[in-house]
Symmetry: C2
Subunit: 367 residues, 2 copies
């Protein structure tokens, strides 16, 4: 049933009911897959907040023939998350009445994203996952995979995330949502058939987010108080068009996101991150972690501001079946899980060696 040529496919998975009880009829999940599917060689990669199913693009140092996620050996599959705007059903999609979902699209939890992905795998006939992995929002989904559907998952690799949203994460993520909702072009979330799009709000959200994705020292070493060429941020009157280099850099990051991503989707998926809590309804965080039986490897980044390394240490201390623990050492901060491909590849290769052994031969060890 799986097309493994890398082509983007959209699969109708029928009705989906969210954790909070809302119904979404006619849900579509988009996917891409590479390699040959043998039935027991499926690796599911979970993308981060603004990611998509095209994992060979956004993780190109990690996925491909001969690479850590070796498409000569494994079948690597990546879906666009429910709520997304890259092929799966989300706020940008048309509701049954023919209008865009917009503000009517239900709130989602991380569990919803995973449950919809499970519904998709059922639909395409996949009954076994050799390994599931991902970072940030992808890591949160990976964790939920191990707790919602442990029978399907042979092993999991969780990168740069926490067991639940921290209060600080909720705070900074809410600031991003707020930046979008304050944009007059947001129009309460129902801008899809209007002349205006909340690009300013989305760009502002991204500028804030980007400061949590990057290490403070790395940004400072790159930009410091350097002035943007041709501009003078030290003039006699404040002028937002006269910028320091870091301001120009953040403006660029903001605008770049508006060219490829939707504001309503950003709100929906950020809200899902606010709701990330593997302890909910499971007797609390550590009880939920202790009950986990899927062999799980944890990795984090030493300079991560958004998901500080102590959060991965917390996971590793409390997980019921910890496979291994690894630290990515990088000035880059949170984004290191995307850009430090050498270290991440090494971690993935170790992980897959253990996952291939089905967890049985692998003693827990720290690499």
């Amino acid at each position: 049933m799986l097309d493994t040529t890398g082509t983007l496919h959209k699969v109708d998975i029928g009705e989906f009911i969210t954790e909070a009880g809302a119904t979404i009829p006619n849900v579509t999940i988009a996917y891409q897959a590479w390699g040959t599917f043998h039935g027991n060689n499926l690796i599911v990669v979970e993308h981060a907040l603004t990611g998509d199913s095209n994992v060979v693009d956004w993780w190109d140092g990690v996925v491909g023939p001969g690479k850590a996620l070796d498409t000569d050996k494994y079948c690597v599959l990546c879906t666009n998350a429910l709520g997304g705007c890259m092929g799966s059903t989300g706020p940008t999609s048309l509701a049954p009445d023919g209008n865009h979902w917009g503000s009517r699209f239900p709130a989602l939890s991380i569990r919803d994203l995973v449950a919809a992905e499970k519904q998709f795998l059922d639909k395409v006939g996949v009954t076994q996952i050799l390994a599931v992995l991902g970072g940030s929002m992808g890591g949160a989904r990976t964790l939920e995979w191990t707790l919602l559907y442990p029978q399907l998952v042979n092993a999991a690799l969780v990168l740069a995330v926490s067991a639940r949203a921290s209060a600080w994460q909720i705070g900074i993520q809410t600031a991003q949502i707020s930046a979008i909702e304050q944009d007059p072009d947001w129009q309460g979330g129902d801008y899809y058939r209007t002349e205006a799009t909340p690009h300013n709000g989305l760009a502002a959200a991204r500028r804030i987010a980007h400061l949590t994705y990057r290490g403070e020292l790395e940004i400072d070493e790159r930009f410091g108080t350097t002035v943007q060429p041709g501009e003078n941020p030290l003039g006699p009157y404040r002028d937002p068009h006269q910028r320091f280099a870091v301001q120009s850099y953040l403006d660029y990051q903001g605008v770049k996101l508006t060219e490829r991503f939707d504001a309503g989707t950003y709100v929906t998926l950020t809200e899902a991150m606010n709701r990330h809590d593997i302890g909910r309804g499971r007797g609390g965080l550590n009880k939920a972690l202790a009950a986990s039986q899927v062999p799980t490897m944890i990795a984090g980044v030493d300079t991560d501001i958004l998901y500080p390394y102590h959060q991965q240490e917390h996971l590793s201390r409390n997980l019921g079946n910890l496979l291994a623990m690894a630290k990515i050492s990088s000035p880059v901060g949170h984004d290191a899980f995307l850009v430090e491909c050498r270290q991440v590849s090494r971690i993935i290769r170790h992980f897959l060696t253990m996952a291939d052994a089905n967890g049985t031969d692998a003693n827990m060890y720290f690499i």
Copy 2:
């Protein structure tokens, strides 16, 4: 000339010319002072971004009879910074044409705030400062005091700040300015005689700022994913009125600031922090620090996200006349310089012992 009864006074210091060359006529600087002024017992306290001259209020654990800044012994003086809204000339003030300055108010640097304070001290006849101290923006001003007017300053204590704005600080501060400027009620900065005030924008700015003022672990320990009583942030549809406790807490912090502070002033002083760079025009950061001759003590907070402790270590390594170095150990983060009064008082007492000795007997030591 100085009234030391704690009464708020406003002193006309005449025309002021900014570092970038703009002229502000008829500048007023507000001050309060306590204790008895002997000519050589003046301690100048520099307030932080949204502070004011009423230091016995916002630093009440530190200032007063018998306290670390002992008003039985010292004369403690605090001015409202130029650009402020608590008595000194700033965007809320009336320009010579009788209208509010608003968007016409010049951009200020940290050096401008210090130069205006110097102009004020000249006016009231003060020619010697036993000690100048402050944290955050107050620390930046303290540093500039030691470099602009070393002949006046016997000793300085710099808390929780850096030698210049880091790129990350510029980025997160610019996000705050942007939140204000995106508020339709901002009206380009000229809202003072209109029906609308950019409260929403200022509150949004404060919510972001507050997440940099507090330690991530402290906020998480206090709030975690606790739900605000009577609200349900996990319902089937996103609703900003259904909040986690941390969202309610940040909303409160935002609203509270709008009740006591002005948005235009916030932009002006935040812009001044963006321009903080003691190396500018002095041959660079470390050359400027090395040339410093005023005995200076540096202190920082171990969990400070905004001014990470390595920035105070940088200061201490490079200052030409380092008096001592101290670390405040606290989960609170940046705000610890305001709230950890026991530790801060201990640091100040050590500092003043050395400052009283005029720096001559005090060998550099670490407490």
